[in-house]
Symmetry: C2
Subunit: 148 residues, 2 copies
């Protein structure tokens, strides 16, 4: 999601676009790979930006609930990345290096119907992640497979 859309969204939802929120967004926006809350905090401090860790947590929580950010819980580590695709999508995560690629397809709506038929549950959401090895890490597969 680019900065213009980001600003629009905040205006639409009548959410205040505070300094910490903007900084958090920008830092994620510059990032090449997913970042933890602490990395985000330290990166901003290095750039002499005044921000509290707490606000980063709060911003990330807000962004996540708005669908702006994807939270990657991979074993014990938690990282965040900006969603580049605006529509609903899923991810594939490299088990070795942690890189994430977004998948711009989701045919799961048929499944939701099936789930409702079978269980009686009203399905409102789902979560799907693929795990594997990116091209660069395929050779490492054997040595890494027990990790996480």
């Amino acid at each position: 999601m680019n900065i213009a859309l980001f600003r629009n969204l905040f205006r639409e939802k009548k959410l205040s676009l505070s300094h910490p929120r903007l900084l958090t967004y920008q830092e994620l926006s510059n990032a090449v790979s997913p970042l933890s809350s602490l990395e985000l905090y330290q990166n901003l401090l290095k750039k002499s930006k005044k921000i509290g860790l707490t606000s980063i947590y709060r911003s990330l929580g807000l962004f996540e609930s708005l669908g702006i950010v994807f939270k990657i819980t991979n074993g014990s580590s938690v990282k965040y990345k900006l969603c580049e695709l605006e529509n609903h999508h899923h991810h594939i995560i490299c088990k070795a290096c942690g890189n994430v690629v977004e998948l711009n397809f989701c045919d799961i709506s048929d499944w939701s119907k099936k789930v409702t038929e079978v269980t009686g549950y009203q399905v409102v959401d789902h979560q799907l992640n693929f795990f594997g090895f990116c091209k660069a890490c395929i050779p490492l597969q054997r040595s890494q497979s027990a990790e996480r």
Copy 2:
């Protein structure tokens, strides 16, 4: 994985099959839905089994590294379930009461191929959870929808 295979594995790997490990295995084996480390601990205490929480953590870690157990990291909650190698499946989780129903179908293998084609990643695993409201909780939907 049944108890016979479990015992065999431990013998093969020359791992000691201690009381806590066996209890942890059995409790998971009896469980209808995935359990957290604490639930496991409390269930065993209720049954007057002597065990420490620490040992449960250590057993679960061992089991996971052996591929006996699957760790479900759902937002902030972490639960474990025995891998039933014969039928891979997914879950639907009630957002209101937390009940879990297992879904005995998974047609995702076609997707894995597609993911590989599109991204070049070698897919080795995936994780799919549905969220919704069970019959009893559908009336609560409005008040609970912001949670998690």
